[in-house]
């Protein structure tokens, strides 16, 4: 979206992700989404009197992985208490890293090469989940509230970007890339719809890139990458309209309303809570030793950017192509690269993987490389048509494997031999002289007509590319 009158927006994102640990951050309760409410609880995550926190080693490991993947320095760190009252926070304070976070000064490179600074990525505990009954779903006006403490104490990492982004598209790309990194490192499952990844956007506008930052608003309750883009564009437009009308932007938290497609006022930041942060006395400083840090850095999974590069190199596609991103996102890139190494045509392998295999990615990740390679080889050799190749692949995925040749034979798939195809093409040209004249005059739109006619005549067995080639040869001849 181009902003009116040369306005520029400035976007910084705060992304909370739940870590994929077996247990919670400070106790041994299972870290499990979707269980019966208040079943995964104990004295510590219920904040009962006398209970104490003990830091989960695995959560630290995953937080360091995120830091390493985001090119951060991994630092000695501490935990603070953030004090405020809310029913879903059982201790009425949240344990969070404050002025000494574990990961600082990193960056993330978007697929187009744009670099977004990462200020910090720190560890904190999640709260319980409130459901306010009666009223409009908020605590004020509710008749009563239900609280599920299963989520209380689930480990989170909050990743704070620099205000480096200038468009909604960049913000979407950042979240999408960050999500891919979190999934690739095994740190989080990155499910925005389940709330395991939550995005808050800080947005301000200014008249030109050289001006000071404007007053920002923080947008919460954005539940998908698509909503993020909409919310940012709405909010920027709202702020510009305000300023152009001679009013000013008031720093505040605003909630995105997906149905109405607009942001609404939440809390005004000028009377912001005083959280009275102080060092959490029940925990000791966290100082991972050098060998632990080195071990984490040395064992980071290959990140999405490098995997896209590998797919691009193997297939000849552009690294920023959608098909490349799709196979990497769905972890089908290993299949494609392995098939190409086994001799498959890269362009066809990428096309089939990013479409037919991607449609059932779980089966695709389990697909035998040799079988996939064989299907691609049969298609590229013209032994079966593209349509037939899709059918064979579909059966392989549905049945969890099989012999591609046998599947093709079972369906009676075989490429038309050239002479048979030639005579059918000639018959169809003869039967449609007007269309053929248009084709010869350069009307590309009738190509589809001829291919369709041939397919109809051959029961779908003809190879579309061979038909096109035959048409070209006859037009020249």
């Amino acid at each position: 979206m181009i902003l009116p009158n040369g306005w520029v927006m400035v976007i910084g994102l705060e992304v909370h992700c739940e870590l994929k640990t077996a247990t919670k951050l400070f106790c041994g309760c299972p870290n499990m989404f979707g269980d019966e409410p208040n079943t995964n609880v104990c004295p510590t995550c219920l904040g009962l009197p006398g209970s104490l926190p003990v830091l989960n080693h695995e959560a630290v490991e995953l937080a360091m992985r995120i830091g390493a993947a985001l090119n951060c320095q991994i630092m000695p760190s501490t935990f603070h208490r953030k004090n405020y009252f809310y029913p879903d926070m059982p201790k009425d304070y949240q344990v969070s890293q404050y002025d000494e976070p574990i990961n600082v000064d990193g960056f993330l490179v978007l697929p187009d090469g744009f670099r977004v600074g990462v200020t910090r990525a720190h560890i904190e505990e999640d709260t319980g989940k409130s459901t306010h009954v009666g009223g409009d779903g908020r605590i004020h006006g509710a008749t009563h509230s239900l609280v599920d403490y299963n989520r209380s104490g689930v480990p989170l990492v909050e990743i704070v970007s620099e205000p480096d982004m200038r468009t909604a598209e960049q913000a979407r790309a950042y979240v999408s890339e960050l999500r891919a990194i979190l999934v690739a490192t095994g740190a989080s499952d990155g499910r925005m719809e389940e709330g395991s990844m939550r995005v808050d956007a800080n947005i301000s506008v200014r008249r030109s890139e050289n001006d000071e930052f404007g007053t920002r608003c923080e947008i919460k309750n954005v539940n998908s990458i698509r909503s993020l883009g909409r919310a940012i564009e709405y909010e920027a437009a709202r702020q510009i309209e305000l300023i152009e009308a001679g009013e000013r932007v008031i720093q505040q938290t605003r909630h995105w309303n997906e149905q109405e497609g607009r942001t609404i006022t939440g809390r005004v930041k000028e009377d912001a809570d005083d959280y009275r942060y102080f060092l959490e006395p029940d925990l000791v400083p966290l100082a991972p030793d050098d060998s632990w840090i080195a071990n984490v850095r040395g064992n980071i999974a290959v990140l999405p950017a490098a995997r896209r590069d590998a797919v691009a190199a193997a297939t000849g596609a552009d690294a920023s192509a959608t098909a490349v991103a799709t196979v990497v996102d769905l972890q089908l890139d290993d299949l494609v690269v392995a098939a190409v190494q086994a001799g498959a045509d890269g362009r066809i392998a990428l096309a089939r993987a990013s479409n037919e295999v991607a449609a059932d990615a779980e089966a695709g990740r389990a697909l035998d490389v040799a079988a996939f390679t064989a299907v691609i080889a049969m298609e590229s050799a013209g032994e079966i048509t593209a349509t037939q190749a899709k059918t064979v692949l579909g059966e392989l995925l549905a049945n969890g494997g099989g012999d591609p040749k046998a599947i093709a034979a079972k369906h009676g798939f075989e490429a038309m031999d050239t002479s048979a195809l030639d005579s059918i093409v000639d018959e169809i040209i003869a039967a449609n002289p007007n269309e053929w004249q248009r084709y010869k005059d350069g009307d590309g739109k009738v190509t589809g007509f001829f291919v369709g006619q041939v397919m109809k005549a051959t029961g779908g067995k003809a190879d579309g590319k061979a038909v096109t080639a035959a048409l070209v040869a006859r037009a020249k001849g």
């Binding site: 926190p53 003990v54 304070y93 925990l283």
Partner: protein
């Protein structure tokens, strides 16, 4: 047959030897409680049925030929801020009305594993905030030596339980002197171990960086026997010492102090300390000299700022630790039209005036714009105090001071003047700020005939030296 054993060490030995049954021990102590509890009000809950059942288990184990633990059959009284599964744990506050913990504190588990029998939960200043046990929501505890006097606090009930013979040993918690000061006022031994020596898991927090559980007992040897059981690494407490602390044995308890270097803290001999208390301290110092220790006065300059730093740090932590008593999940709830009203009314009704005062003090000290001037500065003073004590321990094995500035005072004497009450802890607070161990040993009486305590201080993990000197003082006390 010899007289019935009275100390924990002797009781456990007799129970293990089969000279006395745990059931007999429990009955005699329940009888002692029956005799004076109505007058003294040391206990919030007397666990007669539970104690009898536990005694039966110990006796059955003995009959079955099982090896009994080091505290077999020994009754123990617990300050009512330590969680006991299924048994009310009140912190002597209305706000925990009706709450029964679903779990035991680590110290309770360790005591029970050693064969000890929990006989009572004892009264305290609400949430351990106070120096006289007058701040209990359930009424004050009386000093058994003179029931017109306070027992000290905040662990007044535990000190009285031992002084009145309700139990040979009791546990208290010490945040600024809450074990040592009532021990001194009641004429019993009271130990605050090194911070991290005893797990805090299940101790309801007042000020987490200062709180430490420790024993009361009639003898130094019983304090050692109890410490040996409750101390040790606990994976549930991140601040617990991974390597534990040294076991105290007969060598430390022999009272051999020849050649030990003892420093008397000059700053704790000032105007605020009563003359009769100072005289007892001098006698204690002389006794150690006679036993071969090198005793001299030494200055620990930052010591005098301890009280001020403490009354910022402890309330700050308390303001956060006590936030959870909000009426949402357990304890008292006063219903209101909305959530803020429910919070306010619950906390207004549930907390007593001293707790409210400290929550407000602490909230203020941590607030934006005041943090640096108050809490931040207090933390700096805390490191200065630690630095000065560390310097003193380069020259001395232990330090010596009065435990409390005066003997036990009368009810109401300081209730209208919080600052005067706070001064009761001037000698004991520095050890909490430093995380160091300190013990109060009874040493004669004041002009009023009430007990006087002498405090021995040591560096972190210095319990062995502490016990050597404590045993020597015990042997020479008149």
């Amino acid at each position: 047959m010899t007289a019935a054993p009275t100390t924990a060490v002797d009781i456990a030995a007799a129970v293990r030897a089969g000279d006395v049954s745990a059931a007999e021990v429990v009955e005699s102590h329940l009888a002692a409680i029956d005799g004076r509890e109505a007058e003294l009000h040391a206990c919030n809950t007397v666990l007669a049925d539970e104690a009898r059942a536990a005694a039966a288990r110990v006796d059955a184990a003995h009959a079955a030929g099982e090896t009994l633990g080091p505290l077999a059959g020994v009754p123990v009284a617990l300050k009512d801020n330590m969680c006991t599964r299924g048994i009310p744990t009140t912190c002597s506050s209305k706000i925990l009305e009706g709450w029964r913990p679903p779990y035991d504190a680590t110290v309770v588990t360790r005591l029970q594993a050693a064969g000890a029998i929990v006989i009572a939960k004892t009264n305290l200043d609400e949430f351990a905030m106070g120096s006289s046990t007058e701040n209990s929501a359930f009424g004050p505890t009386k000093n058994p030596h003179d029931i017109t006097k306070v027992p000290g606090g905040s662990s007044g009930g535990s000190a009285v339980a031992v002084a009145a013979g309700f139990a040979p040993i009791a546990l208290g918690s010490d945040t600024g002197g809450s074990i040592r000061q009532p021990a001194a006022l009641c004429g019993v031994v009271g130990l605050k171990p090194t911070y991290g020596a005893v797990s805090r898991y299940g101790l309801i927090a007042f000020a987490s960086s200062l709180d430490q559980i420790g024993p009361f007992s009639a003898t130094v040897a019983d304090a050692a026997a109890t410490l040996n059981v409750i101390a040790g690494y606990d994976p549930r407490d991140s601040t617990s010492y991974a390597d534990g602390i040294p076991t105290i044995g007969s060598e430390e308890l022999a009272g051999e102090v020849s050649g030990m270097r003892v420093g008397i803290i000059t700053e704790l001999l000032g105007d605020g300390i009563a003359d009769d208390v100072k005289r007892r301290l001098t006698e204690a110092a002389d006794a150690l000299s006679s036993a071969g220790a090198k005793v001299e006065e030494t200055s620990v300059p930052a010591c005098i700022y301890g009280l001020s730093a403490y009354y910022l740090i402890a309330p700050a932590e308390a303001s956060s630790n006590l936030a959870r008593y909000d009426g949402v999940r357990y304890g008292l709830r006063v219903d209101a039209d909305n959530i803020t009203g429910m919070y306010t009314q619950t906390r207004t009704a549930g907390f007593g005036p001293e707790v409210k005062r400290r929550i407000m003090l602490g909230t203020y000290a941590l607030s934006a714009g005041y943090y640096d001037a108050y809490y931040g500065k207090a933390l700096k003073v805390r490191s200065l105090i630690a630095r000065d004590f560390a310097a003193a321990y380069e020259k001395y094995d232990v330090l010596l001071s009065p435990t409390a500035p005066t003997t036990a005072f009368g009810f109401g004497a300081k209730t209208d003047n919080p600052l005067a009450m706070y001064l009761s802890d001037v000698c004991t607070i520095p050890s909490n700020l430093c995380g160091d161990p300190a013990i109060s040993v009874p040493f004669g009486t004041g002009d009023d005939g009430m007990p006087v305590g002498v405090q021995v201080l040591a560096p972190a993990l210095g319990e062995p030296a502490l016990f050597r000197v404590a045993a020597a003082l015990e042997g020479s006390a008149s």
